[in-house]
Symmetry: C2
Subunit: 314 residues, 2 copies
């Protein structure tokens, strides 16, 4: 990546005439993100991010943009899609779906302390509460249905030990039906690089393009597996307690969620091990450079299985 | 003003539980504004302004909050009303209508240069364009209908010369029917203290509580009468040209508007002379301290009448 689609200042200036954001001052490609082309766009009216969607279908995009608009309306510091003069949030640029969203302040905190984890816990819980009234429907695009399709495709690339781990975890997860857990729109990818901090305050939460409707607890597990891990994949109990306690204060966990927690931590690890295996062994053109090492989440999954009966809770 | 209604941290903390903005960190009364009670509110989720509405009717408030939400959705840097967990923007606090909106960065520029005036011109034009699709209806609350009601109430306080000026200007304005000018939601009070600057960039436009549907050109005239005046009330041609040129680039003026310009500059002066006379001579309890000197706009009105056939245009 990451700028698949080139846009000239002239083309962008023309396109922006259909928005009430003033005229183009500057446009810079962003070298991050795997799924889309992103530009920082400065106009006389403010600071924005332009995203040109390379592969996501328009119905999913409608869900994502609607969700961001809904959350922003409820005070969640997420990118707010800008409507054009016809009131439409999803536009077309270079014959591809495109959207202009507000640019948020801050930078990713790659060495989070307990205070950062607490902030993320509060943010995640309030995001879940605010999202509860969002009417959009989209199945988690990297949920169990996707696992079942991806596993046979990556399995031929695995050694015997890893193939066995994959098979057994898929079977283990299939024993659990978690439809009764509290559900709603989830971010589903709230890693350290998707939260912007200004000091210890959150400036924004970004990249909603893996969001979908699923168990809220899955979202919590995704967070803990990234924000609260040590180098060897073990959970840092202090950071996990900070995140879970802050979440619980804003949106109390239920007894059912307490029981499902070890299963969810494993499910969240499996999801990213699988997708990283997929991106690593079956890359799309131009993507290989950015593929993450799948082993990181293989280790986390193995850890969570080993820790199943003593995983941290509050 | 300005804090008519006192709210304790405990009351506010309780109230905020119905929003997805985290928990209360700090709350400070704001000593500005004549119509409402305002607080800066900081939560773990961000920076907001709480407004408790002292006198505005709920239907007007629905128009204002809807307009702000609409403009924010189109990229205008205005306060964005935060919906509560039920999706409602207009809440109730201390038995009064209340709203939580985003807090914008920057500070008022009280000695504007041409570059600031140009920014305001662009902002105003894009605000008009973005507002064109807003379906809400509210007559300009300080339009000709209000003038006709207010004039007889302030007239007894005027000396003969001022009474004659008022009578003659009201008769002059009544000769013009400006319903054919381009119309839409207007801010109607875009003075220097309602635009926040960060350097020469606009951080935000605030205080929409005099907005209504009226001729866009009236909004332009209100701006020029404040942003582009010299100490004696005369128009600074350089600043006026900067504001009008920038506006025209984003939303070209029509020939009809060119013709109506001198009348509009006088109407905008009359409107503020009248309201300041009203607030000065017929103050509400606790308001006298903040009443502006009506003479400033009397001088501006007299100037605009004298300059009618040579008022600045582009």
């Amino acid at each position: 990546m990451s700028v698949y689609t080139k846009v000239t200042a002239k083309e962008l200036g023309e396109w922006l005439r259909n928005y009430a954001v003033g005229t183009l001052v500057e446009c810079k490609g962003i070298a991050a993100g795997i799924e889309n082309t992103n530009y920082f766009v400065t106009t006389t009216g403010g600071h924005f991010v332009l995203t040109i969607f390379e592969r996501l279908p328009r119905d999913a995009l409608a869900f994502y943009l609607g969700l961001m608009a809904h959350l922003a309306r409820h005070g969640i510091p997420c990118p707010s899609p800008i409507a054009d003069l016809q009131g439409t949030m999803l536009g077309t640029l270079k014959n591809k779906p495109a959207a202009l969203v507000t640019r948020l302040p801050g930078a990713a905190e790659m060495a989070p302390q307990p205070v950062h984890c607490a902030r993320v816990g509060t943010l995640l819980a309030t995001m879940h509460l605010a999202g509860a009234s969002y009417p959009g429907e989209l199945e988690n695009p990297r949920g169990p249905r996707w696992w079942r399709g991806a596993a046979p495709q990556v399995r031929p690339f695995l050694d015997a030990e890893r193939a066995r781990l994959l098979d057994e975890e898929l079977r283990f997860q299939s024993l659990y039906r978690l439809q009764d857990l509290a559900r709603g729109p989830i971010h589903a990818d709230l890693f350290r690089d998707n939260v912007l901090f200004e000091g210890t305050s959150i400036g924004g939460v970004i990249d909603f393009y893996f969001a979908g409707v699923d168990a809220w607890l899955f979202d919590v597990a995704v967070c803990v597996n990234d924000w609260c891990v040590l180098a060897d994949g073990a959970i840092d109990d202090v950071r996990a307690a900070a995140l879970l306690t802050a979440y619980h204060e804003a949106r109390p966990f239920t007894a059912l969620e307490r029981g499902a927690w070890p299963v969810m931590l494993r499910a969240a690890a499996l999801r990213f091990w699988l997708s990283r295996l997929y991106d690593f062994h079956l890359p799309r053109p131009g993507e290989l450079v950015h593929a993450h090492d799948p082993e990181h989440f293989r280790r986390i999954l193995a850890r969570r299985i080993a820790e199943s009966d003593r995983c941290p809770w509050i």
